[in-house]
């Protein structure tokens, strides 16, 4: 027998949260895009460059969302050998760039959103990382 887990009220909760700071969602979209662009630039700078293909393959794409309270941005590296650079080969060391820099970007975005929520007089608690 297949198991199923159904969560009800998630959309309602998001709607309630959005009402706490109604202008926040519109503000964080461009903020996320800006931090993603800076993160992509940092990744490009961290990568080695021989032909420039790897650096040129770092892209930022805004993802669509059905909810106004959610924003998504994707950073992708499309060069087919990107994982060899990131994780290394038999004869080359790993060059950690995408993993640590996207982690830093996510944390910067979280911190920036928290700061904006607090600026509206709301309290943010707990470990959000």
């Amino acid at each position: 027998m297949a198991a199923a887990l159904r969560l009800t009220g998630v959309d309602e909760l998001l709607a309630e949260l959005q009402l706490l700071a109604p202008d926040l969602a519109a503000e964080v979209g461009p903020l996320q895009q800006s931090i993603a662009n800076e993160t992509a630039a940092a990744i490009r700078a961290a990568y080695p460059s021989v032909t420039g293909t790897l650096r040129n393959s770092v892209r930022v794409a805004r993802e669509s969302s059905t909810s106004p309270a959610r924003v998504f941005t994707r950073i992708e590296v499309t060069a087919p050998y990107a994982h060899f650079v990131e994780f290394g080969t038999v004869t080359t060391t790993a060059t950690p760039a995408f993993v640590p820099l996207t982690r830093i970007g996510r944390e910067r975005f979280t911190d920036a959103v928290i700061a904006r929520v607090r600026a509206r007089g709301l309290v943010v608690g707990g470990d959000l990382r």
């Binding site: 080359t92 790993a94 950690p96 993993v99």
Partner: protein, 144 residues
């Protein structure tokens, strides 16, 4: 005195001292890259520093540190099975382990796998395959 470099050594020691992993990867455990003088082909383990962050406390102290290691078996083989088996052994040794970091001046809090790593690499010389299998493991610790 806390020495983060000795935390790196403690992770390598856990892997190097395991008989089962040594059987699967008899050519040793290396930091970053296998020395060029090593015989090829081979089966070995690579440990590399991947990411690190510190949670600051008051007075310039460090509350805790999170260090992300890339740990992977690299095995020259026609099948990925030996590398997968070695990665499974690495996971047994590290995931959920409380490492002894006494010599490093740290106390371990946790060790968890954050993500898996698995990819083949075609050897440019003989067109055979090296299989890389392992993961990113995060060690949480604080200076004692």
């Amino acid at each position: 005195m806390a020495d983060a470099g000795l935390v790196d050594a403690a992770v390598m020691e856990v892997l190097a001292n395991d008989a089962a992993l040594s059987t699967l990867c008899p050519d040793g455990v290396y930091w970053g890259i296998r020395p060029a003088a090593s015989p090829a082909p081979g089966a070995f383990v690579i440990v590399a520093l991947f990411d690190h962050r510190e949670q600051p406390a008051l007075d310039g102290d460090t509350l805790y540190e999170r260090t992300n290691y890339l740990v992977k078996a690299v095995i020259f083989a026609t099948s990925k099975t030996p590398a997968r088996q070695a990665a499974a052994r690495i996971h047994q040794l590290l995931h959920g382990a409380i490492l002894d970091l006494t010599a490093a001046g740290y106390i371990a809090m946790d060790c968890r796998r954050l993500d898996r790593v698995a990819y083949p690499e075609i050897d440019l010389v003989n067109k055979a395959t090296w299989h890389h299998h392992g993961g990113q493991y995060e060690v949480m610790s604080y200076p004692s």
